[in-house]
């Protein structure tokens, strides 16, 4: 089942434990991501976009405000929100298939069900042949595919992705973007995707939320109505890019 995400008046302060200095990372963020929507959060480094994702995931606690996933307030991390990290964070001591199965071990499933589900999602990301490999034997793109298979296997409601393709080369990144969209359309999940890459945001998102930095806040909320699959070089795509770039450029100059 997919869920919506409601971010209500979220602020996040970090306190330097040595100097006692306070740093306002996010200032009064209000944002609703609807069920089944694909939203990219776009902004420069340090605009707090990853902090927002960590708050939704429950890794951090907000200084003010609250986040609702469906009707429930976020209190701690949980399998309803699958996170794909920029660092691959697969467990090196487990095989690829066991990494996918790891999430299922916490659920009430029979051994056979776990086997079937993990095989299914590993095939979905095209890595069935690598089931018994170790993560360190895979390329970055393959590792990230396993990480995606892992969160899909645990049947999360929300997909949270923190610059998942940031460390990949351009070709691999484009390929994974395409695959991610296909999977997202098939699985019908709400997706929140953090990126600083305008091309990526325009290619993927139903909506792009542009963040500005110091403190992080929402600068613009741009809906993209171009049908998928999108031609990266089409004129309408370029127009949206320009619009987004303008928001980001203002940001850079004023910073």
């Amino acid at each position: 089942m997919t869920q919506s995400v409601k971010i209500k008046g979220i602020s996040k302060k970090f306190v330097d434990q040595e100097t006692g200095d306070e740093l306002l990372a996010l200032n009064n963020i209000n944002l609703t991501v609807h069920e089944g929507e694909f939203v990219c959060i776009l902004g420069p480094s340090g605009c707090g976009k990853s902090t927002l994702l960590n708050l939704i995931a429950g890794f951090l606690e907000p200084s003010a405000g609250e986040i609702l996933v469906g009707p429930e307030k976020v209190k701690e991390p949980g399998p309803d929100r699958g996170v794909v990290f920029q660092e691959y964070t697969l467990f090196p001591w487990l095989t690829v298939i066991d990494n996918v199965k790891f999430a299922l071990d916490q659920q009430q499933l029979t051994k056979q069900e776990k086997e079937e589900i993990s095989s299914k999602y590993l095939s979905l990301v095209g890595l069935a042949d690598f089931a018994d490999a170790r993560p360190h034997e895979l390329s970055g793109g393959m590792k990230q595919r396993v990480a995606i298979a892992r969160v899909l296997a645990m049947d999360c409601d929300i997909l949270l992705m923190d610059e998942p393709f940031g460390a990949l080369d351009a070709q691999t990144r484009q390929m994974l973007q395409k695959e991610l969209l296909e999977i997202w359309e098939q699985e019908e999940k709400t997706a929140i995707f953090i990126t600083h890459n305008v091309d990526e945001a325009v290619y993927l998102a139903d909506r792009v939320v542009v963040f500005s930095a110091h403190p992080g806040q929402v600068r613009a909320d741009v809906r993209i109505n171009i049908p998928r699959p999108r031609d990266r070089l089409a004129k309408e795509v370029a127009e949206v890019k320009r619009e987004l770039l303008d928001y980001l450029t203002i940001e850079t100059y004023s910073a």
């Binding site: 970090f14 740093l23 951090l60 949980g78 990290f85 467990f91 790891f102 659920q107 360190h136």
Partner: protein, 303 residues
Amino acid sequence: MDKSYEYQQLEENNELGVSNSEHSYGQESISPQNNLKLKKDSAKDIFISVLPIIGLLVIWHLIAISVTRSRGVPFPTPGQTFIRFYELLRGDIYLEHTVYKHLLDSLIRWGSGFLLAAITGMIVGILIGWSKIFDRLLMPIVYILQPIPSLAWIPVAILLFGLGGQSTLFIIFLASLFPVIINMAAGVKGVNKMYIRAARMMGLEDRSLFFKVLLPGSIPHLLSGFRVSLANGWRALIAAEMIAAAGSGVGYSIFQSRWNLDYASAFVNIILICIVGLIIERLVFTTIESQTIQKWGMKREEI
């Protein structure tokens, strides 16, 4: 850009307070050329690797001859030592036991001391790594006791257990304990913070987080702890047997030779010590590592 760095720093400080441990994921690749070269040079290779041993034997022989001449004491030559080695391996009795019994007794003392230390050290190390309170309570004790050489514990051992096997065990235990505690704690603290987040995201509770993430994640550290611990224990064993001995053992054999002047037997026992050390290091540890951290790509670069 500077600010973003600060954010990250702050975020890390706010979190569990565990630092990322850097593991090398690089894999050595053997190119076809290298392979070919290895084969061609293998004869030369073997020669070079036995050269130090030959050199050692030659130096030993020269020292033995000149000391025997100049000081008039029976310093055993390599030849005499190997003859004695053969006699002992044949089953000759030395100090009331065969060499096998001496060696076995030493190995059992070493093994039990290490086992006790490994279990205690892991539990204490886990507590220190897992909880800030235990860290602050126990770590100072570790730091105070850790620099004490294991032999300095002998009076304590004798006061506690008297002369004999238990004292030896106590010394070995103490010598092996601290490396395990320190490495286990560092291992648990050093587990990549992102692994913990990933596990929490997948719904792991404290208990399974511990067994499924923290414990396997700290194995690279733990293995280096075991390595140091076993070596310390072995050294302490030899020394402890000399002083608080129970009438058998490799160290006991070496020390007693000063009474019966059977120095060749002492040298045989020294060689046995080397062989046991090499077997543990080369066979046991290399096998364990290739089955675990090397297979996982978590082997740390040697410093």
